[in-house]
């Protein structure tokens, strides 16, 4: 221990996590990347992949119009899901951090997290019962005369969309709540003291200071939603497809590991590109805002 220099001692606490990730995350990622350049082995072979020729064949197939369509649906579903999650999460986080006394907050947060005590699979499956054409919701809507015939949502993209929003809402609430709770209430009072209305205070003080939390919540929700395969598998049926489900099908059922790996790589790259675009957009928006306001001095 005494021979370790100061720098290594400083980073020593990282070792367990770094080792864990090196083995299970990095190794897995690298092998997926390698697999994506291989080919599906003949059924007689022991290994699932052959590397006799390294090819881009999997990428060509993964980018064929049918699959590109599914990529697009995936990003759209995740995007819409993220939008609604943030929209619904913000008021909850705002009320929780400004209107609820400090003593009650942990309990309300507990209630928000509580659904996670139930298995993800089971929670999602419960929606099949709710959304079923002969289910409670369907009958209630029919009784109110809002729809005729059974509810036709189950096994469609809409069902997947609903399931995604429902499942990731708590994930969106927490980072926003943390960001809002860190804003000193005196800042809102100072804003009002200087002549700002409630709306101006919200737009000029609260929202900018909550932005890091909103971005965090957005990224987290979007990435989790884009990679989800349980929701489309359970609620989407044949028509509600997302790329995560397709990857699972390729690997688990079609035994085409290389194609699944290529799809996974494309998803990772697509998410990275979207992340970078968003970051750029934010910088531009901030510049535009500065310009619109004019220099302070």
């Amino acid at each position: 221990m005494s021979r370790l220099n100061a720098t290594s001692r400083k980073w020593l606490p990282l070792l367990p996590a770094a080792a864990w990730w090196a083995v299970f995350l990095l190794a897995a990622l690298v092998s997926i990347m390698v697999f994506s350049f291989g080919l599906k082995a003949p059924l007689s072979s022991v290994d699932p992949v052959t590397f006799e020729v390294l090819s881009l064949e999997n990428y060509r197939e993964a980018l064929s119009p049918v699959y590109v369509q599914v990529f697009w649906i995936t990003l759209k579903t995740a995007g819409i899901g993220t939008f609604f999650c943030l929209l619904f999460a913000f008021p909850v986080a705002y009320l929780l951090s400004t209107r609820i006394s400090r003593n009650w907050r942990p309990w309300l947060l507990f209630i928000i997290i509580f659904p996670y005590w139930v298995s993800f699979l089971l929670r999602t499956f419960a929606w099949r019962i709710i959304l079923a054409p002969e289910g409670m919701l369907s009958e209630a809507l029919q009784a109110m005369g809002l729809i005729t015939g059974g509810l036709a949502i189950l096994d469609t993209q809409l069902a997947v969309q609903l399931g995604i929003i429902y499942n990731y809402l708590p994930v969106a609430i927490l980072p926003i709540f943390v960001a809002l709770e860190r804003i000193d209430p005196a800042l809102r009072q100072a804003s009002s003291d200087l002549g700002a209305t409630k709306i101006t205070t919200f737009v000029q003080v609260t929202l900018p200071l909550a932005t890091p939390g909103l971005i965090g919540a957005g990224i987290l929700t979007f990435i989790l939603a884009a990679g989800d395969y349980v929701v489309p598998a359970i609620l989407g049926g044949a028509r509600g497809l997302m790329i995560g489900r397709l990857i699972a099908l390729q690997i688990l059922e079609a035994q085409n590991l290389p194609l699944g790996a290529a799809m996974a790589m494309i998803l990772i790259v697509a998410l990275l590109v979207i992340g970078v675009l968003f970051a750029l957009l934010q910088i531009v928006a901030r510049r535009l805002n500065r310009m619109a306001q004019g220099a302070a001095i």
Binding site: D184, L187, Q189, A190, S192, D193, G195, L209, A295
Partner: protein, 372 residues
């Protein structure tokens, strides 16, 4: 003349706790007024009522003859320097100062000039493009002042503005605040629990206690002629003796039969009363003083160096502890344990109505009571 602020009969309750009880207060234009009191006395609540951050259950708040009691803070012609400055962390110093002018839709050219002037006034122009978290506490304090004063309010409210600064900086800021107030001619209303700060800066001081105003007066009024034992103790400090005050008399008799003479007896003082003398007016000597109005004997419990003065803690025969603050020259030959004589003039002693809070703190009284 139109009053800057006129507070009439405001009362505020939080559940069973009475934060303010029928408070009346007038503040003139251009006046420097401090609200001074222990924590929980209601001084900050009064400030928040003037600023519009809290609303009274009953009573009125007038600013420049206009009743503002129902107006929210953004519609009142007052500005506030908050306790921890409350600078917007995502804006530069200049943007912080410009914020209030943007709300008034001051045109860009005029706005820039006023921001510049405000920052020059507090000598922070060089820091205009910095973010608040790159500033020291004293610098943040100046920016908070500039941000409030740039609005040219008729009244500036300051909520313990110097509390977070170290001693040296605090004294420097006291001088600057006083100068700023004189230069701008704006009424300053300052909340503090530090009596030296209030004494140093204020034209008048408002002493609050348990949600009521105990006394209002100039620093010298409060120092020389306090109405109550509480005020006497809070402004500076006092040695108290509890005893019997006989009708028409100007002396009290302590339970151990000693008599102490005073110059001044407050109107409301009853039979059970407190006599008080300041530590700096109490003389200490080894030999019995030849001619003194009041004398008593004790022994030195502790000696504290306070720079150019010395403070002696003396235990009297009754068990009471007396403080005595003298120049260093007089400390010669005095040591812990020495038997000494304390003496003071009747001109320096006052008799007040019994104050239970202070009486409970007297060791002698407790000894006397347990003796019964």
């Amino acid at each position: 003349m139109t009053l800057a602020v006129s507070v009439r009969g405001i009362t505020k309750r939080y559940g069973n706790f009475v934060a303010l009880d029928d408070v009346n207060l007038d503040i003139e234009q251009g006046e420097f007024v401090s609200l001074l009191g222990p924590s929980g006395a209601g001084k900050t609540t009064i400030l928040r009522m003037i600023g519009g951050f809290d609303f009274p259950d009953s009573g009125d708040v007038k600013i420049l003859d206009q009743n503002v009691v129902d107006l929210p803070s953004h519609k009142r012609p007052v500005n506030t320097v908050f306790q921890n400055y409350a600078l917007f962390p995502h804006m530069t110093v200049a943007e912080n100062v410009a914020y209030g002018l943007r709300q008034e839709r001051v045109p860009a050219a005029a706005r820039k000039t006023r921001v510049r002037e405000a920052l020059e006034m507090v000598e922070m122009i060089a820091m205009a493009q910095r973010k608040p978290d790159a500033l020291s506490g004293g610098q943040q304090q100046r920016v908070a002042l500039a941000r409030a004063l740039v609005k040219r309010p008729s009244i500036l409210l300051l909520d313990e503005p110097l509390g977070a600064l170290d001693r040296r900086l605090r004294q420097q800021m006291q001088i600057e605040l006083k100068k700023l107030q004189r230069d701008t001619g704006i009424a300053f209303v300052l909340v503090t629990h530090d009596q030296e700060e209030a004494m140093a800066m204020s034209d008048r001081i408002v002493i609050t206690r348990n949600g009521r105003i105990e006394q209002i007066g100039t620093p010298s009024d409060l120092y020389d002629a306090p109405d109550t034992a509480f005020v006497a103790d809070f402004i500076g400090s006092q040695n108290f003796l509890r005893g019997q005050l006989y009708a028409k008399d100007t002396s009290i008799t302590t339970p151990d039969g000693r008599q102490f003479y005073a110059q001044r007896v407050t109107q409301d003082a009853g039979e059970d009363a407190l006599a008080a003398v300041r530590p700096e007016k109490t003389a200490i000597s080894i030999d019995k003083p030849v001619s003194a109005d009041n004398v008593c004997q004790g022994s030195i419990l502790q000696i504290l160096h306070l720079g150019n003065t010395m403070e002696f803690v003396v235990r009297l025969a009754s068990g009471d502890e007396f403080f005595c603050k003298r120049p260093r020259e007089e400390a010669a030959g005095l040591a812990v344990g020495s038997p000494v004589w304390l003496s003071w003039s009747r001109a320096d002693m006052s008799i007040f109505k019994l104050d239970q809070g202070i009486a409970d703190g007297l060791k002698g009284a407790r000894v006397a009571m347990s003796g019964h």
